[in-house]
């Protein structure tokens, strides 16, 4: 490790030189200057761990130097040397941010004690600072790490099942095939739960607010649909989209809003009848852009509507319970929509389908000026 750096600022040469002689015993690197200005110059170019300042100097006195050091870098430990030690002057310099003071004349041991203590404080400060930074970095990557730790074993198991089901490792009889398919289905549910749960903790309202830009609804809808076409086909569900060409853009964070839409759409498909319909429509209403998803699905009991956005709430109805679900999808949707400064409305009748409407703020101005190309987005 590098030896600590100490700067001595004193207008009297004899004091400076004797300080240096004593401090050398600590194995530190000492620099000497005669004025506050020179001292501050050095501090700006080359950070020091500790500064010894004489209080009484012509031009810029020790008080002023201490104040400026504090402005420059409050982590530097400053010790005042004073020839006229009064309680008042000591208190004043400590108020300016000095760590300690040393009355003149002092013995070598007195200087060493004060400086050693100052350096110890500096070391502890640095240490706690780096620990704090480490902790912050860990918190930043926490969700990523947890995601990795949870998903890795699940992925490994899943892939074994996929390989077994693909008969690469030999043929399966019907009973084995069926059991493995059930295992895969349950595992799918578990993976989905992990994803949803991580999404819940990852989605930070503050982050979304920063990313709100003017975006067209049509684009978001088609992106949200992209991942769900297969599911819709399997249940023979017809999806129609009605987004007017001239609809003004809304203030949207594309990634999370697409997620909200795809959660709603996935519900509209999942809790629908075979051969059912989903209708997506966007309209302009006063200052809002409203996106409505209407389905011909099972619908909700009126009594349940107040609870459907609660985390882990799942409908009591048999049709819903038959489908895999985590009870987090709508909670995520609501969290995202609220972070957009919007709201969500539900209309539903048991047996004849539901309608979810997301209200988003219309983008101000002509929109395009607000649009930012996404540079540097990384796939991960």
């Amino acid at each position: 490790m590098e030896p600590p750096k100490i700067l001595v600022i004193d207008d009297e040469e004899i004091s400076r030189v004797s300080c240096e002689r004593i401090l050398r015993r600590l194995g530190v690197k000492v620099r000497l200057v005669g004025t506050g200005r020179e001292g501050l110059d050095i501090l700006m170019r080359e950070p020091q761990d500790l500064v010894l300042v004489d209080l009484k100097m012509p031009e810029m006195d020790g008080m002023e130097v201490t104040r400026r050091i504090r402005e420059l870098d409050p982590d530097i430990v400053t010790i005042i040397i004073t020839g006229y030690a009064t309680i008042e002057s000591a208190v004043t310099v400590m108020k300016e941010g000095a760590y300690d003071y040393l009355p003149k004349p002092f013995t070598p041991d007195e200087l060493l004690i004060v400086v050693r203590r100052g350096l110890e404080k500096r070391r502890l400060d640095q240490e706690s600072k780096s620990l704090r930074e480490e902790k912050e970095a860990m918190e930043r990557n926490f969700v990523t790490m947890v995601s990795h730790q949870l998903r890795s074993p699940l992925s490994a198991v899943y892939q074994y099942i996929e390989v077994l089901l693909s008969s690469i490792a030999g043929d399966l009889n019907d009973a084995q095939q069926e059991m493995l398919e059930r295992i895969r289905e349950r595992l799918d549910g578990l993976l989905q739960l992990t994803n949803d749960w991580l999404d819940m903790s990852r989605i930070q309202a503050g982050d979304i607010v920063h990313r709100l830009r003017a975006n067209s609804i049509g684009e978001c809808v088609s992106k949200a649909m992209a991942g769900l076409e297969v599911a819709a086909e399997q249940k023979k569900i017809k999806i129609t989209v009605d987004v007017p060409e001239n609809l003004p853009p809304a203030r949207i964070d594309r990634d999370t809003f697409r997620e909200a839409l795809s959660n709603l759409l996935s519900n509209a498909i999942k809790y629908n009848k075979v051969g059912g319909e989903v209708h997506i429509r966007a309209t302009e209403q006063d200052d809002w852009i409203v996106v409505e998803l209407r389905d011909t699905g099972f619908g909700l009991d009126e009594k349940e509507i107040p609870f459907i956005f609660d985390q882990f709430y799942r409908s009591k109805s048999r049709e819903v319970r038959e489908q895999q679900g985590t009870g987090l999808g709508l909670a995520i949707v609501q969290k995202i929509v609220r972070a957009h400064g919007g709201k969500i409305e539900v209309k539903s009748r048991l047996g004849s389908g539901s309608s979810f409407s997301i209200y988003l703020n219309k983008a101000k101005g002509n929109g395009s000026s607000d649009q930012i190309r996404d540079v540097g987005q990384k796939i991960l």
């Binding site: 890795s152 693909s166 990384k378």
Partner: protein, 136 residues
Amino acid sequence: MSTKGKVLIVDDDPDFVKTVKMVLLADGYEVAVASESKKGLEKVREYKPDLILLDIMMESIFEGFSFLGVLRTAPEYEDLKSTPVLMVSSVKADTGSRFAFDDGEDMGDAPEPDDYMDKPLKPKDLIEKVAALIRK
């Protein structure tokens, strides 16, 4: 017997490696394996794969990206830098939301892989992606 091509798997999860290897072998590829990026880079030189299947998080959180950085920019890999890379990770959620590490500085100039897949990989999807990348 001639194969469809040579694939190098760089991943520290032996179960992942085993299953992917089975799928690729069954489909007629030749496969080599490295369990960390340093060995992986040596293997690239020795084995000259037609495709690299690269995990992101191994010993360290960005290991896959460091690997890719060396491969794409280091002078000693000049002749191999255009080897296609298919990056895989179990980090990203499957909803299509991009799961960036919340660290702009670290990720700012990270190299881009040729393609990306989420773990778990489905055999059919894997075979399709691999074939498409090798054809390129």
